[in-house]
């Protein structure tokens, strides 16, 4: 179970092949191979602090160029390609601790991402779309995304500082799904939310995966949240893929219990 | 066309004056990490103070002393007014406040002394010309050029001693390494910031008087090219490196002396900028390494 089976014959929206990342002598990721299927689904990546989860996201979105290995999107090698190209190929993400543009309203925040995919789509249909002014398809996508996460109309014209944490997180998710991605990477989406909000988030994510026909990958510390939402869990430890399987399989894995669940209880409640 | 010995002598003198300016400059960069652009104004003001002392007492020692004191005091004022209140702001803000402080100093000089017309230092022993005879050429130097070289060596050694061996120097190095950690360990960052600028400005004060003695005339803006060159040297050395600034200062001195000797002298000032552009293109982090603390 310690190795993923990349050549299992199924279509991967996103795949890493033998990927390594070294930062100044420190191996942040070593020889990680994993594939994320196309189509609806929710899976999770867990691991102790410093295990390489955020680095993994940074590689998947092109922020960090890998030292070795390949990043494949839809079967095409995208290693070392620019971040905006990777985004337009359908890989979208949220950020640890919610990163919104402080001087743009909720709607404008979403539009930044929504409109970066519309120009190409419009041009493909033969329409003139310089993409400089508001309106058109970008606006439709923006509003649709905000509707999907259920952000009330009154909040849409507010700045992030005037929104609650829940609302800010919804704006960030709306921003990430506005491009209708094939894979949505969520970095600690439940952090700081209360129990009721976590339940709401769980329902929302399940619904998004279905509605958008999109595969969600969640990095999360909250074990009960992860185990209740993900159909597949991968465990990272010291930059290596330690385990990969259903929540029940992972929970039963002795290596995982030793490296993660057994030794760091404080992670579970984070 | 000058002979090689003459060029070497000029290179030594130019390099010494650059070193005097650049060493203080790089110290400020390494410790405060701001675009500090008031160094030229402090240097010019010190040169004016030296002029005052020299015309009243005729003593080069008094002039140097007053220049150093003026530099130190002005440095403290600039730090207090233009750096301390805006620490932690975006790079642009301290850049603009130190430029403003420089403008205030330069404009006050312009408005009060001789309506801003260039002034020349009175004759001292420094104008005495010494002629040598080397392999058939007759290179010469003035005593003020010799004084710059000697003083540059002495003052840089003193500064290095202060930074390496004294308690204040340890605090400076701690802040250069990490302001936050130094503050946690009880180093008073404000005191370090002020003393760094004061030390650097005292060096500039001495440099101002010494350089003014060997140029024909000074005006409130006479040190502006020196500041740009010091900037180039600090970049070359990596912000915060005293040995790097010394090497860089003499290197630029040699480049310029050779350029003046063999090429078109009117492009002399261009070299500093071309060097800066080249360095930034090739080594954006500075040439002689990256970590500041070990090199201060």
């Amino acid at each position: 179970m310690t190795h993923t089976h990349l050549h299992d014959g199924q279509a991967h929206a996103l795949a890493l092949e033998n990927l390594s990342v070294v930062f100044g002598g420190v191996r942040a990721l070593s020889d990680v191979s994993l594939g994320i299927h196309a189509g609806r689904g929710i899976e999770a990546i867990i691991g102790p602090n410093g295990a390489g989860k955020t680095t993994l996201f940074n590689v998947l979105t092109g922020v960090v160029a890998p030292t070795g290995g390949r990043l494949m999107i839809d079967g095409q090698d995208m290693t070392g390609r620019r971040q905006d190209h990777i985004f337009r190929r359908g890989i979208s993400r949220t950020f640890q601790g919610v990163r919104l543009f402080a001087h743009l309203t909720a709607e404008q925040n979403v539009a930044i991402a929504a409109r970066s995919v519309t120009g190409r789509a419009a041009r493909a249909q033969g329409r003139f779309a310089p993409g400089w002014f508001e309106g058109g398809q970008g606006r439709d996508r923006t509003l649709a995304a905000l509707d999907r996460v259920g952000l009330p109309a009154a909040s849409r014209r507010r700045l992030p500082s005037q929104l609650t944490l829940w609302e800010r997180r919804m704006v960030e998710i709306a921003r990430a799904i506005s491009s209708e991605p094939a894979v949505l990477l969520l970095d600690e989406p439940a952090a700081g939310l209360n129990t009721a909000e976590k339940a709401r988030l769980r329902d929302l994510l399940a619904r998004l995966a279905g509605d958008l026909d999109c595969h969600l990958v969640v990095v999360e510390h909250d074990m009960s949240f992860v185990m209740s939402i993900a159909s597949r869990v991968r465990v990272l430890n010291f930059g290596r893929l330690l385990a990969d399987g259903t929540p029940a399989e992972v929970q039963a894995d002795s290596q995982v219990r030793e490296a993660y669940l057994g030794t760091s209880h404080e992670e579970a409640g984070a | 066309m000058q002979g090689l010995p003459q060029i070497l002598i000029n290179a030594l003198a130019i390099g010494s004056s650059y070193t005097l300016v650049a060493v203080g400059f790089t110290l400020i960069f390494g410790v405060l990490r701001v675009v500090y652009l008031a160094h030229a104004a402090v240097l010019a003001a010190s040169a004016y103070a030296g002029y005052l002392a020299l015309s009243m007492t005729g003593s080069v020692v008094v002039a140097l002393g007053l220049g150093i004191v003026t530099g130190g005091v002005l440095g403290l004022i600039v730090e207090f007014v233009a750096i301390r209140p805006v620490r932690g702001q975006d790079h642009l803000i301290p850049m603009v406040t130190t430029i403003s402080a420089a403008i205030i100093i330069e404009e006050l000089l312009r408005l009060t002394v001789e309506r801003g017309q260039p002034i020349s230092y009175p004759d001292t022993f420094g104008s005495t010309v010494i002629r040598l005879n080397v392999f058939g050429t007759t290179p010469y130097f003035t005593l003020s050029q010799a004084l710059i070289v000697v003083m540059a060596v002495v003052l840089v050694l003193v500064l290095t001693w202060i930074v390496r061996r004294t308690w204040a120097g340890r605090a400076i190095r701690a802040v250069a390494d990490s302001e936050d950690i130094a503050a946690l360990l009880g180093v008073r960052v404000n005191v370090v910031s002020a003393s760094t600028v004061a030390l650097a400005s005292m060096l500039a004060g001495a440099g101002g008087v010494l350089i003014a003695m060997s140029v024909t005339a000074i005006d409130p803006h006479f040190a502006a090219p020196l500041q740009f060159k010091a900037l180039a040297i600090a970049l070359f050395a990596g912000m915060g490196s005293i040995p790097g600034a010394v090497i860089g200062g003499f290197l630029l001195g040699f480049i310029e002396a050779f350029a003046v000797g063999y090429l078109d002298p009117s492009y002399r000032d261009l070299f500093a900028f071309l060097v800066m552009i080249a360095i930034l293109m090739v080594w954006p982090q500075g040439l002689l390494g990256r970590k500041v603390a070990q090199r201060v």
């Binding site: 905006d84 001087h103 | 430029i99």
Partner: protein, 294 residues
């Protein structure tokens, strides 16, 4: 040429165009401080074209604008190649502008240090006022355009911008080029008004004269740059004989304001409070009906 007042207004309008050009990179927290160089390129390019090639004035200004925009592109592409940021960016842009000044000083073709003479008078107050109005309209539109929103996004968090599908470098370069172009336009208008330009007119002091008022006015809104330029331009004129102290006053006012209000005169906070004043009565009434409180 008209009165001294007319001259003052004309120069102020030209400086405002340059200020808006310089404001663009600064508002993204990118320290491209090469504005004096871009103005020099616009001034010399357009002056050569009208004097030596007999090109029509508007075409020459357009050519100067394009030349300066191209120069800004070169500077910023080079800076981006090696990922300069913060003060190394500032030093790089300054080196470019100063090198250009030294090269011009040594170019006999344009008069060297003696200056460029024989420029015909073309710039009028009406002309620059119209240009300035168009530029301001352009900034108003920019704030409402995608490009304007991207500019705000880059200022707020440049790191995540490319991860939202935005070509970060291209976006920045477009804005840099517009800024440099405006500088070039201002330089061309300036050359055809003062009729005599020297390389040293475009030195560090010009940068200071443009940059200090912008930061004084505040970088959060483009009208902060306009307001700063006019406030610091008008005050010395109001008091006869203060012209001599203009730079001194500008510097003192800037340092004082930045110490008291690091964001400058007009900040986002100012705007929010101003909007709040208009809204408060309305909102208060709504609150009262919502909650039943008096």
């Amino acid at each position: 040429m008209g009165s001294a007042f007319e001259a003052f207004l004309t120069i102020q309008c030209i400086m405002t165009i340059a200020a808006l050009g310089h404001y663009l990179p600064l508002s993204m927290k990118q320290l491209d401080v090469g504005i004096a160089g871009y103005m020099a390129i616009g001034a010399y390019a357009s002056a050569i074209l009208t004097r030596d090639f007999g090109l029509a004035f508007p075409l020459a200004i357009a050519a100067g604008t394009i030349a300066a925009a191209a120069a800004a592109l070169v500077v910023d592409i080079l800076a981006a190649r090696v990922r300069l940021s913060g003060f190394t960016y500032a030093i790089f842009a300054l080196s470019f502008a100063e090198s250009l000044r030294i090269i011009l000083n040594n170019s006999d073709r344009v008069g060297g240090t003696l200056g460029f003479v024989g420029i015909r008078h073309h710039t009028t107050l009406t002309g620059v006022a119209v240009v300035l109005a168009i530029v301001i309209l352009g900034f108003w539109a920019l704030d409402r355009s995608r490009l304007g929103h991207l500019r705000t996004a880059i200022r707020d968090d440049a790191f995540i911008v490319p991860q939202l599908g935005v070509p970060l470098l291209a976006t920045k370069l477009v804005i840099f080029a517009i800024g440099g172009g405006l500088g070039g336009m201002a330089g061309g208008l300036y050359a055809h008004y003062v009729l005599f330009i020297r390389p040293d007119d475009f030195g560090f002091l010009l940068l200071v004269a443009i940059m200090l008022p912008i930061v004084f006015g505040g970088l959060d809104r483009f009208y902060g740059a306009i307001l700063g330029t006019w406030i610091l331009g008008i005050i010395p004129e109001l008091f006869r004989g203060l012209g001599e102290y203009r730079l001194l006053l500008t510097a003192a006012a800037t340092i004082l304001l930045l110490v008291l209000r690091p964001g400058g005169l007009i900040t986002d906070g100012t705007i929010e409070r101003a909007k709040g004043l208009f809204r408060s009565r309305d909102a208060h009434r709504r609150d009262a009906t919502d909650t039943g409180r008096p």
